[in-house]
Symmetry: C2
Subunit: 191 residues, 2 copies
DNA sequence: GTCTATAGATTGATAGAC
DNA sequence: GTCTATCAATCTATAGAC
C-alpha cells in the first residue's frame, strides 16, 4: 500500500524544516548550505527549491511554523500555578529550555533568526511579531492573579531572561538561579 | 621617504581588523569570506593568512582588540554624574551606541561574537571575559554613590539592556525609554 | 611579510528525466 | 513534486616570486 503524493510531500516539507532547525542552530543561517540542508533531510537540493524557492523561503516557513508555539509553551505551564514566585521560577525554566525544542537548539536558533531579521527587512515583521506575542503572553501570565495586565512587564521580563540566558551560556556560574529570580521579582514588583 | 616595514605591517593589521569589524557585523562570521575581508582592507587573502593564520585568528585578534574597550566606554561617562537616575540614562544611551563603534555595528557584532563563542569552546573564555568585565564595570559604576558594589546588579542590568536593545531593533516603539529606565531602576533598587 | 596565481572543494541555482 | 546532473561562481588554503 503506497502513501499518497500529499503525504510524501508533507513529510519532505517537515523533514526539511526539522533539518533547518537543527542545522541553523548549529552552524548559523549563512553557515548552512542548501545542499547540507537537503542532505540532512535525506533529500536533494532540488527539493528545497521546489518547496521553498530557496534559503529565504525556508526561513520564512520556519518562522511561520515556530510562530507563537514557543511563546505559548513558555507561558502555558506558568498559568497552572497560583503562587506568584513559582510563576517566575517556571517561567524562567521554560524560557531556558521550552518543551517544543531542546534548550540548546532553541536559544541559538532564536538568536540566528534575530540577526537574520536585523539584516533582512522583509523578515523583520515576522520576527517582531514573535516577540510581540511573547510579550503579551508573559504579561498575561504574570497578571493572572490580580487581573491587571501590563505590557511593559512582559517587555522587561523577556529582556531580562534573554540577557541572563546569554550570560549563562558563556559562564553558567555567572548567573545563579537566585539572581535571576531576584531580578524577575524586582521587575514584577515595579508595576 | 619610505615608511618602515613595521609601520606597513601595523597598518595592514589594523585595516584587516577594521574590515572584519564592519563585514562581520554586516554579514556575520560565516557570511564573511577571507577574500571579501582582504578586499575590503585593500589587501589580498594571503595577508590574512600571514597575519592571523585564518578566520579564527582574525576573530581572536578582534576579541582581543575590543576586549574591555567597549565596557570601559559604556561605563566611563556614567561615572561623571552624581544623580542616580541620570547614571542609568547615560548607561542606557551608551549601551545602545557606545562611542568607540557606531551603534548599528556594535550590537550586531556583539551578537555574532556571542554566537561564535557558543559554538567554539576555544573562543568562549575570551567572550566570557568581556561580559565579566562589563558586569564589574557596571556594578562599580552604579555603586559609586554608596560605595557598596554588588556584582549581581551588574549581571541583571546588562541582561536587561541586552534584551531591551534586541526588542528595540525589531520594533523601536515596543521599547520606550521610560520602560527601560523603569526596569533599570527596579533592578537597581532590588539591592 | 606581502603579494600573485592557482588548485581543489563547495556553493547556489537551473535544466531535464521520471 | 522530486530527483540526477551539471555549470558558473565563490571559497579556502597553499606555493612561490619579490
Amino acid at each position: 500500500m503506497r502513501r499518497t503524493q500529499d503525504e510524501r510531500k508533507a513529510e519532505t516539507r517537515q523533514r526539511l524544516l526539522d533539518a533547518a532547525t537543527a542545522l541553523i542552530a548549529e552552524r548559523g543561517v549563512a553557515g548552512t548550505s542548501i545542499d547540507a540542508l537537503a542532505e540532512a533531510a535525506d533529500r536533494t537540493s532540488g527539493a528545497v527549491y521546489a518547496h521553498f524557492g530557496g534559503k529565504e523561503g525556508v526561513l520564512v516557513a520556519l518562522l511561520d511554523e515556530l510562530k507563537d508555539a514557543v511563546a505559548a509553551a513558555i507561558v502555558e505551564e506558568s498559568q497552572a500555578d497560583d503562587d506568584d514566585d513559582q510563576h517566575l521560577e517556571v517561567l524562567w525554566r521554560n524560557f531556558v529550555a521550552p518543551p517544543p525544542l531542546a534548550g540548546d537548539v532553541w536559544v541559538l536558533l532564536e538568536h540566528e533568526l534575530w540577526l537574520y531579521a536585523c539584516r533582512n527587512p522583509e523578515a523583520r515583521p515576522l520576527v517582531a511579531a514573535r516577540y510581540e506575542s511573547a510579550r503579551r503572553g508573559i504579561a498575561d501570565a504574570v497578571a493572572a492573579d490580580d487581573g491587571e495586565s501590563d505590557d511593559a512587564v512582559g517587555t522587561l521580563l523577556i529582556a531580562l531572561m534573554i540577557g541572563l540566558e546569554m550570560q549563562r551560556r558563556l559562564d553558567p556560574a555567572a548567573v545563579p538561579d537566585e539572581v535571576a529570580y531576584r531580578g524577575m521579582r524586582a521587575l514584577l514588583e515595579s508595576r
